[in-house]
């Protein structure tokens, strides 16, 4: 019996300017799954990911995450968000705080964790992403790859059960992509439930339990990686794969 952690049903999202970014999207993610979301630019991948922790409101449909109705007004969003980590394309580390303070902020303020304990956990997480020696530096002193690894460690600091990644390697120099993907692979191997918007087809093929193809606000195709990439899917998926795999 697999436990469903994310369940989106008939989700529609229209931005204030009238752009319909999501059109009747449904998706379930079970515990331990790694779901990669791919698709052309503007197809609604980020929007979908951001509705999962209510960073974006939705226009219609329902989303349940960890058993809670995300877009219900009565849901305690702050508490839910501590159980859903998010990693951004632009890292979004807090530049006025050291690496260690970046990791300790939420546990201390939201979790009410004691200083010493938060610190110990932060150092352990930094070791895990291979940056134990950088704890006293400011984000601006780190490379992009290092910053993104710190951002992953920061998202893990609240011990989330789900991790959301929005193109975590798109802002990186090509030679830094590998170190971030390695951290994500290790996380997947530990059994973390992950939703990853990515253009890294190699990662999707190697790590994903399922790959989701989005186009024009809809989910066109969902399959396990082997069949997803064998070129037998939806014609638009084939066109997309043709483009990204040769490019």
């Amino acid at each position: 019996m697999t436990e469903v952690l994310i369940e989106a049903r008939g989700v529609c999202k229209t931005y204030g300017n009238g752009v319909a970014a999501l059109d009747e999207v449904s998706l379930t993610v079970a515990r331990g799954e790694v779901v990669c979301i791919v698709g052309p630019s503007g197809s609604g991948k980020s929007t979908l990911l951001r509705t999962l922790n209510a960073m974006e409101p939705i226009s219609a449909g329902e989303i349940r995450v960890l058993g809670e109705a995300v877009h219900d007004r009565r849901t305690n969003l702050n508490r839910l968000r501590t159980r859903v980590g998010m990693v951004f394309q632009a890292f979004n580390l807090f530049p006025h705080r050291t690496v260690l303070q970046n990791l300790m902020l939420a546990p201390r303020i939201v979790g009410g964790v004691a200083d010493a304990q938060a610190r110990e956990q932060a150092l352990r997480l930094l070791d895990k992403v291979g940056l134990g020696d950088k704890h006293d530096q400011y984000p601006g002193q780190l490379s992009g790859g290092q910053q993104q690894r710190v951002a992953i460690a920061r998202a893990l600091a609240m011990n989330p059960q789900i991790m959301l990644f929005d193109e975590p390697t798109s802002a990186l120099d090509p030679e830094k992509v590998g170190e971030v993907l390695d951290v994500m692979k290790a996380l997947a191997a530990e059994g973390m439930t992950m939703c990853v918007v990515t253009h890294e087809m190699g990662f999707a093929r190697a790590v994903a339990s399922r790959v989701v193809f989005m186009d024009a606000g809809r989910i066109c195709h969902v399959d396990e990686p082997q069949r997803f990439f064998d070129g037998s899917g939806h014609p638009r998926l084939q066109a997309f794969l043709g483009q990204v795999l040769q490019g």
Partner: protein
Amino acid sequence: MSPADPGRAVRPWGWYVLYAAVMAALGYGVYAAAQRVDYNWHWERIPQYVVSFDGEEVVAPFDGFVKLADDGRSLEVESLRTAERVRIDAFDRVLSGDGDLVFEGDAIAMRSGIAAGPLVWGLWLTLKLSALSLLFALGIGVVAGLGRVAHNPAARALSATYVELIRGTPLLVQIFIFYFFVGTVMNLSAFTAGVAALSVFTGAYVAEIVRAGIEAVPRGQMEAARSLGLSYPQAMRHVVLPQAFKKSLPSLAGQFINLIKDSSLVSVMALTDLTKAGREVVSSTFSPFEVWFTVAAMYLLLTGALSIWVRRLERRLAHD
């Protein structure tokens, strides 16, 4: 070496010489202009208004009669109405005679020593006014600035109205309103009314600086904080505002320097700030040039100190 002209030897002292020459020329210009209007400089009249060596007055604590001790080293004041009496011996020169009737606040003796002159008292009042107003303006400005960027339409409209009302009317008019209307209705002292007027005025400008500072912090900062489970106020306090504050520090410094200078307008109320003290000293010395140059230098002392402090703060916060 300046990047604009690499390879060229730079002799910075040459420019300092030019600077000194221009400043000297300007100084001579002022001097020559004063000569033409046949002005008699009396700088020697000024120092006594900055520091006075006359000493401090010892005043009567209540209405009563003075009883001088035989050795003249102490005196007693016997209350006119009650049985109260006080002994005073910390003075160096007696101003009243044995058996004199004195009233509360009358000078009965002098204590020698160095005392602040009227200009320094004015400076002190200006400093108090400015420092208090700065604190309140910062508080008002942060609240109104947060209102400007809030999602709540009522908060947004209220802060926008406040900012527009204050920025659309002259400070002098606001001071009159605070002194004559608000001050009378709420029974405020001139000092309180002055602080209130300056805080409310400066707060509107601080609000706009705070708003601009918050908007200059990338949206991703708020999003990252919220995604970690911080509430909006927590994210503001721990993530957005510290960065916004750093970005707005130069503008805030400018605004607070303006505040110190604007405080001279409260001299229209019954407040002896530095400017009012200057006017009073002019009327007793008939040396307007010297007095106003001195007053200007004393304002520069305050604004200069603030500038230096802010620059040090900026350097301390600069690490990314």
